[in-house]
Amino acid sequence: MNIKHVDVAVVGGGAAGMAAALRAKKAEIEDVAIFEWASELGGILPQCIHPGFGLDYFKENLTGPEFIQRFIEKVGESRITVMTDSTVIELEAGCPNKLLVSRSKLGLEEVRAKTVILTTGCRERGRFNLNLSGDRCAGIFTAGTAQRLMDIDGIMPGKRIVVLGSGDVGLIMARRFAQEGAEVTGVFEIMPYPGGLQRNVVQCLEDYGIPLYLGKTVIEVRGKKRVESVIVADVDENFNIISDTKTEVKCDTLILSAGLVPDWRLPRILPPAKGIDIDDRTSGPVVNDLFETSMPKMFAAGNFLMVNDTVDDVTFQGELAGESAAESIKFDDMRTNRIEWRDTVPGEGIRFVVPQKFSGKSDVRFYLRVKRPMEKVWIEIPEIGKRFFKKIVRPAEMVKIDLRAEDINDTPRLSFNLSVLKRRGKN
């Protein structure tokens, strides 16, 4: 078998992967290679044809394809090796790391890489993750699959649509179906609040008069060959179905938009003893503030690290991982091995904090998700006596907190806690 040697191997050629590769190359690393399963670079973005991308990164309102083509062009101009139709099927950590790559027509190839950056994105939760009972008929799609069919392959998946879950992809697809003249009966969300960004609730549902039903879910699918209807019902505060609210809704298509999880299909193949530590809260790897995983010289960024709301954040994360990978090659283990990593702790009201570890030696941007929507709150970090006021926080919107090295230099840990603003005079 052909063996190839590289300095940086980037697994996954989406926004995170390309940003990482470009940054490593900019730091004058010689051999940077991107391995991408699909036939073209871009990841999920070529199918996200709506505007709303790059507001932060480019200060422009771009569509997904426009945003990503800028990166594809830059990668084309730099001397980065791009291998499309190339799936990394096995990964063994070590010095060097070993990757087994399946290159469709060309067969298997082994790659030895000084550092690896994992940017394989996320996948959608499907019917079986949702415990959706009923008939096994055609006409059930995840939102991302429907999006690909419509906006890459030009195929209309159905005419009468029910959307289960109000994640951003689902909201965006509800609008696409309405634009194309399909009837969108409604978006059903089990939580008492929408899962997607506020601007998507407004521009995708309110603009098109599509109803959003909160505290309601789909419990059964009916249909012989194709979906004919779904049964929807209200839930109580413990998410138990309230039986006497069951109603049948006619439709030919059910779109699932009930959450994304980092795509571990690849690294799971690692021998378990050498596996990467996983954070149960993000379902992604545990990383330090260089975005290095528990395996030295193995980095992670983008939706594989944590499910992000915007591609701008994904891109910034990719750049940080690329820079860290370059540095770990240049200075060998100088930085990472001799550092005593300290923990971040998601406290009261906080679902997760990334990075999970920090050195105290550099400035860090912390990404947080809250557990439920709240108004007028403080995010308090008692260890360093700092707090940040937020007018409103929602699970759908990532909270970002920037802390400077001098503020976190001495503290053995950092915990992030939500507390409600108290009125003066009380307590």
């Binding site: 036939s39 073209e40 070529p46 044809i49 709506h50 505007p51 309102n61 569509t63 394809p65 426009e66 083509q69 419509m150 906006d151 890459i152 392959d153 030009g154 195929i155 634009q179 194309e180 003249g181 960004l197 506020q198 601007r199 609730v201 407004v202 521009q203 309110e206 603009d207 108004e375 007018k391 409103i392 926080v393 929602r394 919107e397």
Partner: protein
């Protein structure tokens, strides 16, 4: 007439009630700050959106439809007409990102442009 508009400038998403008479705003209530004011005023009288869709493209590499967008936002009530306007069009590669597909789209003064490159599909097995 009272129009309900959700402000999308910040995550708070205030719900404004806008009182409109003869295309004039009489009163806005429900907003928490002045940033929302501007957005809600223009949204109440002449809301605009970027129009986007896909157009079939024949013989292109990797894609069967080409994503398109208007360069600038157009009046919201033209979005439906926009969908009719592009119906029936078929494109051929090569097309470059930013290339004008329809000039002065629906007389709005802005062009409908390609959102990405499309290259001809050359069958590499032959």
């Amino acid at each position: 007439m009272i129009k309900e508009i959700t402000c999308i400038i910040c995550p708070k998403g205030c719900k404004a009630a806008v009182e409109i008479e003869d295309m004039q705003i009489k009163n806005i209530s429900g907003l928490s700050c002045k940033f929302g004011q501007d957005y809600v005023e223009s949204e109440a009288i002449h809301p605009t959106r970027i129009f986007f869709s896909v157009i079939p493209i024949i013989g292109a590499k990797n894609i069967s439809v080409l994503p398109v967008r208007t360069k600038k936002p157009i009046p919201k009530d033209l979005l439906k007409r926009g969908m009719n306007e592009i119906r029936g069009i078929k494109l051929n590669p090569p097309i470059k990102m930013g290339e004008v597909i329809i000039k002065n789209f629906l007389d709005t003064g802005t062009d409908l442009v390609a959102s990405r490159d499309a290259e001809p599909d050359i069958d590499d097995s032959t």
